[in-house]
């Protein structure tokens, strides 16, 4: 039997089994309108419908933190939010963080300070740190720990990630 085109199948699957809605999301200042299952989570929308694969799925149930994205500037777990519920928001993924291809200070600091090993938690760490640095001029050590503790990193022991954030803060003074 010859396989049918993937697009058809995906649509058929949706029609057969879920309610389909047109969901329009504003991600990294680009508008994406897609007919998707009304139960599709934001993380799957971002990865599958927009092909923005920097958002990682480590558990798909709100435990590892790797799928964090910024919704109106605030970090949320994209696996715990239905895509259709954030249609009015401005969503920023890791791909939308750097401006004109230039690394932001926290991205640069993470690269320079060895805060990246396997890199699977890195997008989430960058987004969470971005929010912290945007909202706090001089975050305390405890606030920095809190910021990184929302995402599981099994490689670094968190020390170099904390240091990368501290260095950005130091650079401001």
């Amino acid at each position: 039997m010859v396989g049918k085109a993937a697009g058809n199948w995906r649509f058929k699957d949706k029609v057969l089994n879920d309610l389909v809605e047109v969901v329009t999301l504003n991600i990294n200042s680009v508008s994406y309108s897609r007919a998707v299952s009304s139960l599709m989570t934001l993380s799957h929308f971002i990865r599958e419908e927009c092909d923005l694969t920097g958002t990682k799925i480590g558990c798909d149930r709100g435990e590892c933190g790797c799928c964090s994205v910024l919704v109106d500037g605030k970090p949320i777990l994209a696996c715990l939010v239905l895509a259709k519920f954030v249609q009015d928001a401005e969503i920023t993924t890791i791909e939308g963080i750097s401006v004109d291809g230039q690394l932001t200070p926290i991205q640069e600091s993470m690269v320079e300070n060895g805060a990246i090993q396997c890199g699977f938690c890195t997008p989430s760490m960058v987004l969470n740190a971005t929010h912290l640095l945007n909202t706090h001029k001089a975050p305390s050590k405890n606030q920095i720990k809190k910021c990184v503790s929302g995402t599981i990193c099994r490689c670094t022991g968190y020390t170099k990630i904390e240091k990368a954030i501290e260095k950005v803060v130091e650079g401001r003074e």
């Binding site: 396989g3 694969t53 558990c59 149930r61 690394l103 720990k145 099994r154 670094t156």
Partner: protein, 793 residues
């Protein structure tokens, strides 16, 4: 050039920090079939029938495979290929894959699983490892000959005169220790994507540490020639040993691609990652240690039982490592151990950071601390002077080369202010020490052969850029960076002129993979040798351009006479292209210039490259590393052999709350002898990561089983340390250069984990006076130990 020793930014960081890095699940292939696995709900059961009628009838399901579709079983070790791609006739653990469904969408594949009707007859499961040693009529692996029980492997070794050692000891301590199962908990779930070409060639992208072994296993299980299979490891989200076996889902994804001619994809849920496990073996260790006040450690005896789970994996190696890695870092003249690895109906155990050496190390270091208490000596002072001598042989004929642990312990004592604190802190505060010993790569290949353990190809074309091709897998530890640093240092080029193509079995020469802390030592040496070979070509061209006479070339094979300082030199007759050949061409390669000091003249690197290219075209060389012939002739002599050993010291400071039993590790001072730290940024990263993982095993991590089923298959219930639990860390890594390591380096990825855990236990004793003989040292364990101690008073 000064690349070596500088804090070098990791290759790939830029891709990772911008989200551009493609991990296996991020790779898009055209129109793939999505695969889901139906897993066993039983720990041990006979499969009576599998009815697939309803699932095959479902529109959109393209292919369903069962155990009957695979003739050959597999396993990472040739001696225990006992795992089927899908269960055949019998299921051996809860979560074992039984049927695979490939459908047009993930949703369809998931729903299709509900339509499969399997009839099982449940059998009495073997769950307790001790019971697995009893005679059984219904064994887990009845195919194993000459067995009446569920023993997988029994190993034993004995050296010296154990009884004599105990007789000459001033104190003998013995105890029983128990360790639960812990798992790697990497963040990226297993994933495999297969792209099939018109002529049925398989391109397998997989989240694996060992593309080479996956290559072999797929070829064998699917009965397709190796040249029809290409395995690629894209960016990898952590391994720690958990991705160092070939896996059933890799076989299934490849099989479905072959059967249907379609591309395939399979990604695990987090729950499935826990079911697949391959983590550290739970163990029961009985150990007895005899110590003399003046002579140090006299005799050590270990009886070890490790719970292997349902299949072999690395288990035979684990069994040996449970004993042999205790041969360092101390002098230990009399030594005996036996280890039984048994099968049980639980997810299989395999290699995990510190492979096999972690639990026995805990037992030994805790007993040594107890012996020091009995003798009334300071456990740090006592250890000084009783470490292995450099360039010596251990009783089981490990060749010991560089040793820096004695001075390292002194440094750690000074930094931690040990002498001011030990035995002097208030109740509830304590300080403790532990030391460790680990291999820099296994000296023997898993598949016995005479091939080099690592080959690296190096090419330079007219643009002057260098490309290294290596089979080594960068799994986040930074091996690509390390390889590039080798070439950068030898050729005097900036890092961005050196590109690394790695972990692709079609493009790269063979490397066995990222496990047993072998990559820096073995692939690093191979890369360095490749760079030296190409440098010879460039040096010749440079001398021609400078119109100077080149000095007479010396033999590249460096003498390994350092060993002759040992007492009992084994025979060396292996003319391997020398580890660490010296660079003595009379030239300096630096900042893209090649200069000759005496004449004071120099030429540009790029001009030399073009000159060298004039007649032969692009430069292509290969460097290899073969480990030297080492070791004795007794049974199991190859286990634990390594060209070099790392050693480490941990001094931990804890706060124990006597009313809750909660342990907080406040500060840790670590000395790790990795020889020359090639890239301090990466060295620190590995040590901090080891501390994180060790802390988890010490205080909180534990896989819970009920009737063989994993009960805490999620990050919510399998707790690993967060940033708040991490202690203050002081790192010292200034060991002396290792004669055979690339630019003097030894391993750093694994060895530091093991000694950290007992240093915490010993600090707990210093703090509140209770000896902990089980892990994790959770609050309830400490509290009941404290209450027991109170009761005794």
């Amino acid at each position: 050039m000064n690349t070596i020793g500088s804090r070098t930014i990791m290759k790939g960081s830029l891709e990772k920090v911008t989200g551009a890095a493609k991990y296996t699940d991020d790779i898009k292939v055209k129109n793939p079939l999505y695969i889901k696995l139906l897993r066993s709900p039983h720990a041990f059961a006979k499969i009576v029938s599998i009815n697939l009628d309803r699932v095959i009838a479902l529109e959109g399901v393209k292919c369903v495979v069962t155990g009957a579709d695979f003739k050959n079983t597999f396993g990472v070790l040739p001696i225990s290929k006992d795992e089927p791609a899908l269960a055949r006739d019998v299921v051996r653990y809860v979560g074992e894959p039984v049927v695979a469904v490939a459908a047009e969408t993930i949703g369809l594949a998931k729903r299709a699983l509900d339509l499969i009707d399997i009839k099982y007859i449940e059998k009495r499961a073997h769950l307790n490892p001790s019971h697995s040693l009893r005679k059984s009529e219904d064994r887990i692996h009845p195919e194993l000959p000459n067995r009446e029980n569920n023993l997988h492997k029994h190993v034993e070794q004995s050296f010296g005169d154990l009884e004599n050692g105990f007789e000459n000891s001033d104190t003998i301590v013995s105890s029983e220790f128990t360790f639960p199962s812990v798992t790697h908990a990497f963040t990226e779930p297993h994933c495999t994507v297969v792209e099939i070409s018109g002529d049925k060639e398989l391109k397998i992208y997989s989240a694996t540490q060992v593309p080479h072994y996956v290559h072999r296993a797929v070829s064998e299980v699917l009965e397709v020639p190796m040249h029809k299979v290409r395995v690629i490891k894209p960016y990898l989200g952590g391994g720690f040993g958990g991705k160092s076996d070939p896996f059933p889902h890799e076989m299934v994804a490849a099989k479905v691609a072959l059967l249907t001619g379609r591309n395939t994809k399979i990604t695990f849920s987090r729950e499935e990652v826990f079911f697949s496990h391959h983590g550290r073996h739970p163990s029961k260790i009985k150990m007895k240690l005899g110590v003399s006040k003046d002579d140090g450690l006299k005799s050590l005896e270990g009886n070890i039982l490790i719970d292997g789970g349902a299949y072999g994996s690395f288990g035979v190696v684990t069994s040996y490592y449970n004993g042999v890695l205790l041969q360092g870092p101390y002098n230990l003249p009399n030594f005996s151990f036996n280890c039984d690895r048994v099968y049980t109906n639980k997810p299989m155990c395999g290699a995990m950071r510190g492979h096999g050496g972690v639990n026995p190390r805990f037992a030994m270091e805790v007993l040594l601390d107890e012996a020091c208490t009995n003798l009334g000596v300071d456990p740090c002072e006592f250890r000084l002077g009783h470490f292995l001598k450099p360039y010596s042989l251990t009783p089981n004929e490990f060749r010991i080369t560089s040793v820096s642990v004695n001075s390292g312990l002194k440094k750690a004592m000074a930094k931690s202010k040990w002498s001011e604190k030990y035995g002097k802190l208030p109740f509830g505060k304590g300080i403790g020490v532990g030391c460790g010993f680990f291999i820099s790569g296994s000296n023997l290949p898993i598949h016995w052969n005479q091939m080099p353990q690592s080959s690296v190809r190096l090419t330079i074309d007219f643009d002057g850029g260098v490309t290294l091709y290596s089979g080594a897998s960068d799994i986040g530890q930074g091996s690509d960076t390390m390889l590039a640093m080798m070439a950068s240092e030898v050729l005097g080029l900036p890092m961005d002129m050196i590109k690394v193509v790695s972990a692709d079995t079609r493009l790269c020469p063979i490397d066995l993979g990222s496990y047993s802390s072998r990559v820096t030592f073995m692939a690093g040496n191979a890369a360095r040798n490749a760079a030296i070979r190409v440098r010879k070509i460039l040096a010749k061209a440079a001398y021609e351009m400078l119109e100077l006479k080149a000095p007479k070339e010396k033999d590249a094979n460096v003498d390994i006479d350092f060993f002759k300082q040992g007492q009992n030199p084994p025979k060396y007759d292996s003319p391997y292209l020398g580890a660490n050949p010296k660079i003595d061409d009379g030239l300096t390669f630096s900042d893209q210039k090649i200069s000759e000091a005496q004449a004071g003249e120099s030429v540009d690197y790029i001009d030399v490259v073009r000159r060298a290219l004039d007649f032969g075209g692009a430069l292509n060389v290969q460097g290899v590393y073969s480990s030297p012939k080492l070791g004795g002739t007794f049974k199991g002599a190859g286990a634990g052999l390594s060209p070099a050993y790392s050693m480490s010291v941990f001094i931990s400071e804890v706060d124990v709350n006597p009313s809750t039993g909660a342990v907080k590790v406040e500060k840790v001072t670590c000395f790790h002898d990795c020889g020359v730290a090639l890239n301090p940024l990466a060295v620190e990263g590995q040590l901090e990561g080891s501390i994180h993982m060790g802390l988890g095993q010490a205080l909180m991590e534990r896989i819970e089983h009920t009737e063989g089923a994993v009960q805490n298959a999620s990050f919510l219930n399998y707790k690993i340390p967060s940033a708040f639990e991490m202690p203050e860390i002081e790192l010292i890594y200034d060991g002396e250069a290792e004669v055979e390591g690339p630019f003097g380096a030894k391993e750093v990825g694994e060895g530091a984990l093991a000694p950290f855990i007992p240093s915490i236990a010993n600090a707990v004793y210093d703090a509140v006076g209770v000896r902990v003989r089980q892990l994790p040292m959770s609050a309830d364990v400490i509290l009941s130990a404290l209450r027991e101690k109170e009761g005794k008073k």
